[in-house]
């Protein structure tokens, strides 16, 4: 067995408070890059890596670690790849130290125990999801949207009539995701549907994140993955920082939204695409289930839901169809008359 270490930079940890189903308030750190091999490499060469404590081969071969991974996947839908194991090792160690446990096996028992498990899984999730975000973090997802999905959607007769594309960035944090979508859609629209209206609604529960997002000012780290021609077209430098252009900001609307606020949620309607990346992982099964049902209602027929890289709708009740694209997956809402029964 050979595995790859994944040092992840804990930069810009956007903290926000979120209500979870049991009524407790927990601190949540969001947005970490996962799964993209490319991303893992890119981050490891970043000089500002905060964590790089190597895991030993013995650690990585510990079967209890796989059990912890599988448990995390079952309860949260989030999956730690083999090559991310040393990251998982490190974060488990922190928790084990806090709990004074000496082996992964003991920690797994603690995580799986009815009395202690639920709180501890949340603690561990908080540990492993501290991170940062940046523009074009998930290029395969953007490629799937622009190269495969958008041409299909734009060709639908009722879309041709309305000439409008609406996107919801649900859990937009400090704005990198909705602005990325704005840039990608503006680029694609000039090719395909010039006279169409583009609208991106970006929501988060954190006022602080939303203020920063609306400002549209980013450091070099956040913009480092943007293709140079796009960077010069959609950003202007302000000292050492980069400001998103008016063209991109003009089509993004920011709003505060809590997923548990049902009246506000039910006003979110008629979207073609919903992006909800690395957000549902913080929800328990019941609240995740509610969020998914709401997304279904918010989408137009045939609309698409995109999740974070290692997230899935497995173990939830839903009528979405899972679709694969190169390096990405998406869930499509069924069309009228389509049988969801054979969806997987």
């Amino acid at each position: 067995m050979f595995r790859f270490g994944t040092p992840l930079a804990g930069l810009l940890p956007a903290l926000f408070l979120s209500r979870v189903a049991d009524g407790l308030h927990v601190v949540i750190h969001r947005s970490v890059s996962r799964a993209s091999f490319d991303g893992a490499k890119a981050i490891s060469t970043n000089p500002s890596v905060l964590y790089n404590q190597a895991a030993t081969p013995e650690d990585l071969a510990d079967p209890a670690l796989c059990e912890i991974r599988d448990l995390l996947y079952r309860v949260s839908g989030i999956y730690q790849m083999d090559f991310q194991f040393s990251f998982l090792v490190n974060r488990c160690r922190r928790r084990m130290k806090a709990l004074n446990l000496s082996s992964f096996a003991a920690y797994f028992r603690y995580l799986a125990a009815p009395a202690t498990g639920q709180d501890e899984i949340r603690n561990l999730l908080n540990e492993i999801t501290i991170g940062e975000t940046y523009f074009f973090r998930n290029q395969p997802q953007i490629d799937a949207l622009c190269k495969v999905i958008l041409p299909k959607v734009a060709a639908l007769p009722f879309k041709q009539e309305r000439k409008k594309i609406r996107v919801w960035s649900a859990g937009c944090s400090t704005g990198e995701e909705p602005y990325t979508l704005a840039i990608a859609l503006l680029e694609e629209a000039t090719r395909r549907c010039q006279d169409w209206t583009l609208e991106i609604v970006a929501t988060d529960v954190n006022d602080d994140s939303l203020r920063r997002a609306a400002g549209g000012l980013y450091n070099e780290y956040a913009v480092r993955k943007i293709r140079p021609d796009l960077q010069s077209r959609y950003f202007c430098s302000e000292g050492s920082l980069f400001r998103v252009s008016d063209a991109a900001r003009g089509i993004v609307k920011f709003a505060r939204l809590n997923f548990e606020d049902l009246p506000a949620i039910s006003a979110m309607r008629e979207f073609d695409f919903i992006f909800c990346c690395n957000v549902l992982i913080y929800f328990d099964k019941a609240s995740k289930q509610r969020a998914i049902a709401n997304f279904d209602r918010s989408l137009l027929p045939g609309g698409y839901l995109f999740l974070g890289d290692c997230e899935s709708l497995f173990h939830t009740e839903n009528q979405f169809r899972l679709l694969h694209y190169p390096g990405a997956t998406a869930y499509r809402k069924v069309m009228p008359g389509e049988i969801p029964g054979d969806a997987v």
Binding site: Y79, D143, F314, L323, D342
Partner: protein, 302 residues
């Protein structure tokens, strides 16, 4: 395959001299290693490998490489087989020998890209078959490894034209098989079938090579063909493809081949496809490392 295509391919083969011949050692090893692990005659495998000097050397080199954390040096083929396990030995035997046969294919797909896809499809075919609880799933490995062998045949027989086909597929982001059919009038499935006949491969392998892009279910072993076809698609979607972006949407649930397997194997309905996708990504990382290790070894050996 239509008779005209078959005639054309056979004629090209005659014009150019022979296609690579499958060495006897691979025939015998293949037969040995396609059995389920408890029935493999380990002694015979060790002997067959030791027979082939360069195979034996590769075997030792890989057993001692960083891919396996061995504390002491592995000195004999027997130790190498024991320490790596039969599954790895099989990966190694095929993935070392088959590229050698096609070492003179200079144009067309880059060797590392082709063999990553081949080895990836081999592993995923076997893995998918096992997850579906198909009996003697070991057989699926070789079928996966050989399924695209026609690409190499095309690169040998139609150098410039095939190069052009690849370029067109890349720039238009269209699956290779479609561009082949449009530009050449046949595909790597047809030329693969011709090679399979030449090599006298068993009919289940031959029809899988011929029909893995065919949505209709049939042939000598429809389960094998369906599984390899799906594994091929999944590999191309998860970083083990032909090295270019294929702008396509893949709806597993509506694939005829999946419906066929799902109707036949109850385990298919239980499969968490999204989770399976994540597992594929782990395999992809390992396949890349393995193929890179093997190819860098064969370069330094030659």
């Amino acid at each position: 395959m239509n008779p005209a295509t078959e005639q054309l391919l056979n004629q090209r083969i005659v014009e150019l001299g022979n296609l690579p011949v499958l060495p006897t050692v691979l025939h015998s090893l293949g037969e040995c290693l396609s059995r389920s692990s408890e029935n493999v005659d380990v002694e015979r495998v060790v002997n067959l490998i030791s027979y082939d000097e360069s195979l034996a050397a590769q075997c030792l080199r890989l057993a001692n490489s960083a891919l396996f954390h061995h504390r002491s040096e592995v000195r004999t083929v027997r130790d190498a087989v024991r320490s790596m396990g039969l599954a790895r030995v099989r990966d190694l035997v095929y993935s070392c020998s088959l590229p050698r046969l096609f070492a003179n294919v200079k144009q067309g797909m880059a060797a590392d890209i082709f063999w990553r896809h081949a080895l990836g499809t081999a592993l995923i075919s076997q893995y998918l078959a096992r997850r579906l609880s198909i009996k003697s799933y070991e057989r699926f490995y070789l079928a996966g490894l050989l399924h695209d062998i026609g690409i190499l045949v095309n690169a040998l027989l139609f150098r410039e034209r095939f190069h052009e086909v690849l370029r067109l597929a890349q720039t238009s982001e269209v699956p290779l098989v479609e561009v082949e059919r449009q530009s050449l009038g046949f595909s790597h499935c047809d030329s693969g079938r011709v090679l399979a006949n030449l090599w006298k491969l068993p009919e289940d392998l031959a029809t899988t090579i011929e029909c893995h892009h065919d949505p209709t279910i049939g042939g000598a072993d429809p389960e094998m063909t369906a599984v390899v076809g799906l594994a091929d698609s999944l590999c191309r979607l998860r970083g083990l493809g032909y090295g270019y972006y294929e702008a396509r949407e893949f709806d597993l649930a509506s694939e005829q081949t999946w419906k066929f397997l799902a109707a036949k194997f109850p385990a298919a309905a239980q499969l968490d496809v999204q989770g399976f996708t994540f597992e594929l990504d782990e395999h992809a990382v390992q396949v890349k490392a393995l193929v890179d290790a093997i190819l860098s070894g064969s370069k330094s050996a030659s």
